[in-house]
């Protein structure tokens, strides 16, 4: 039996490597695309061939492929490619900023609820219910109409989108981990709540939170697009992906390139986020390897 099992294990180890050495093609694409998007956002000022407000009235609505304006121009003769680059930057700042704010805020509240229970928990759950019941778009409209739109306010406002999901997930998982199992065991070892939550519960619930983030991210991009479309998001002449789609809509039949460019970027970015997030969750889990 030992003789038979000895040569058996060697080829099997090669067939089932402990660590995935290669990344699936779709995930590879997602990673490359996200890298590109981030680079574009960081170096927007350097890559941009024209200023986003620079008008070329003699070349209005020129189609893609026109020399000097490879993605065409809009109704005021502004270069679509330059505006797209700037839009990527603005939308990414809003979406990343808001996703991180909502994840941190929601998770913190969820953990606080799980740790202190009682009145704190009731309060957090009440806030989460309130948030879930609130038509977020209408509240955003009210806030933006009242205070006027600014980038900081927009990111902050979007940051409140979806936090209640993180709070619920974090609270539920932390309570179940504490009731029986590893968290209770670590508390019993004498660990401070800080250590229990940061070193044990957070890594264990991270995969669920990451999936939740990959869902929130596209939603925030779309929410910002909606607000910009309604004229309360990013204000012209500044531009964002949603903003471009909104204004390009009027020229959908005559100059579709104005809105197709940003639409494709929105789609590919959200798709990449989902693919990479899913893959990341699996990679972070030592039990699935």
């Amino acid at each position: 039996m030992t003789l038979a099992s000895q040569p058996d294990t060697a080829p099997r180890r090669r067939l089932l490597p402990r660590r995935m050495s290669s990344v699936p093609a779709a995930v590879g694409f997602g990673l490359i695309w996200l890298g590109l998007v981030v680079l574009t956002a960081v170096f927007a000022d350097l890559i941009r061939p024209y200023d986003i407000t620079q008008m070329d009235l003699s070349a209005r609505l020129s189609p893609p492929g026109t020399p000097g304006h490879w993605l065409g121009t809009d109704e005021l003769g502004r270069d679509v490619f330059s505006r797209l680059i700037q839009s990527v930057r603005v939308s990414l700042v809003i979406a990343f900023g808001a996703t991180i704010i909502s994840a941190v805020f929601g998770t913190t509240l969820g953990f606080l609820a799980a740790q202190f229970r009682g009145a704190v928990e009731h309060f957090v759950v009440m806030l989460a219910d309130f948030q879930a019941a609130l038509p977020f778009l209408i509240m955003s409209l009210a806030v933006l109409a009242f205070f006027g739109s600014s980038m900081v306010l927009l990111v902050g406002l979007m940051g409140f989108y979806g936090w209640e999901r993180y709070a619920r997930i974090a609270r539920g998982l932390a309570i179940s981990a504490g009731a029986q199992g590893y968290a209770a065991a670590v508390v019993q070892l004498g660990a401070t709540p800080r250590r229990v939550y940061l070193n044990h519960i957070l890594p264990n619930v991270a995969s669920t939170l990451i999936v939740s983030m990959t869902l929130t991210f596209p939603e925030i991009i779309l929410m910002e697009s909606g607000l910009s479309f309604l004229g309360l998001g990013v204000q012209p002449p500044e531009t964002s992906l949603g903003n471009m789609v909104g204004f390009g809509r009027e020229y959908l039949t005559t100059a579709p390139w104005i809105m197709l460019g940003p639409a494709v970027v929105i789609m590919l970015t959200t798709l990449s986020i989902s693919l990479v997030g899913d893959w990341l969750r699996d990679r972070l889990d030592p039990t699935i390897r």
Binding site: A185, V186, V187, L189, A191, P286, T287
Partner: protein, 327 residues
């Protein structure tokens, strides 16, 4: 000699609810339990499921707050739960859990988990900790190459040994083992029991061993306390108690242990389920299932009293029923 751990009149009441709009019924999971553990001594706590053994174990460690009564450890009262003093005391008292897979963090390697108490209690520097982890792994019989493994990659027995190594890391004076072998299969049970025996032999470490497995308890424990519905019904040195049980419940438990080559006749077989702790029978809680029950059992709660120099039992008939079968 002063006791390492001394519990007096511990009470723990859970509020159970019957149905959606039912009235809340208090369940006295632990009801006035007093016990003491001497340094180096192993105390066994046995009883059926639901008799309050595990709750008692957690209360002894101060993990579950006592609603009544006190726990004194090393002569000083147990500090309030989740205070710095309570956390510091964890280095001196540790717990071994029933389900090792649940008690381990599946995202950390076993070396990291065994090292954890050392980090929490700031024992030694990085190099000393690494050495101590190696030492502990060897002591519990884990190979050094398993240090980088994750809990799900180990067998049940190996996981339980990781839990034991982690519990021993800070050098505790008291180890509370809550059914440490009942989730393991029989061959692995023996390994873990042997490991615990070795640990007993090597140092003056006290142990509270909670189990429903009488053979294991008899094997490991110096003294045994028998629990029934949240109360201790009999307590005494392991040898004496198994040879000469005074309480009919203890007798029934002991005779329920199957022995190969011995017929079942003449045994005291327990009838029925343990009663609902929310509806505790009047008088002696055991009387509905007891063959010796008389009127006094139905009306008066028996006190724990001395039946032999070192043995106590809570039974009205403890003296008159000495004629028992040695198990």
């Amino acid at each position: 000699m002063t006791a390492l751990l001394e519990a007096t009149d511990l009470v723990r009441v859970y509020t159970g609810r019957q149905g959606l709009f039912g009235k809340a019924a208090p369940v006295r999971a632990v009801d006035g339990v007093s016990l003491r553990v001497m340094p180096g001594e192993t105390l066994g706590i046995v009883g059926e499921s639901g008799s309050g053994k595990s709750t008692l174990g957690r209360m002894l460690l101060g993990v579950d707050p006592a609603q009544g009564g006190t726990v004194r450890f090393g002569g000083t009262p147990m500090p309030e739960r989740a205070t710095p003093a309570w956390r510091a005391l964890r280095a001196r008292m540790q717990m071994v859990f029933q389900d090792p897979l649940a008690a381990l963090d599946r995202r950390l390697t076993i070396a990291a988990q065994i090292r954890e108490p050392l980090e929490i209690h700031r024992i030694g520097d990085a190099r000393a900790r690494a050495a101590r982890v190696g030492e502990l792994m060897q002591a519990v019989g884990l190979r050094p190459d398993q240090a980088g493994r994750y809990p799900h990659e180990l067998s049940g027995g190996q996981r339980q040994r990781v839990v034991i190594a982690r519990a021993l890391a800070s050098g505790p004076e008291l180890l509370v083992c809550d059914e440490p072998v009942s989730a393991l299969d029989v061959s692995i049970q023996a390994q873990v029991v042997n490991l615990l025996r070795e640990l007993q032999r090597e140092g003056r470490r006290s142990m509270v061993f909670i189990s429903h497995d009488l053979k294991v308890v008899r094997n490991l424990c110096d003294r045994v306390a028998v629990m029934y519905l949240g109360r201790i019904v009999e307590e005494g040195p392991s040898e004496l108690l198994f040879a000469r049980p005074r309480h009919p419940y203890t007798r029934a438990l002991i005779s329920s242990v199957p022995e190969p080559g011995r017929p079942l006749d003449g045994r005291v077989i327990l009838q029925g389920e343990p009663p609902n702790p929310a509806k505790r029978p009047s008088g002696c809680a055991f009387h509905p299932r007891c063959a010796l029950a008389t009127d006094v059992c139905r009306n008066t709660v028996p006190e724990l009293r001395q039946t032999d120099p070192e043995q106590t039992a809570a039974c009205h008939h403890a003296d008159g029923t000495a004629a028992s079968r040695a198990a």
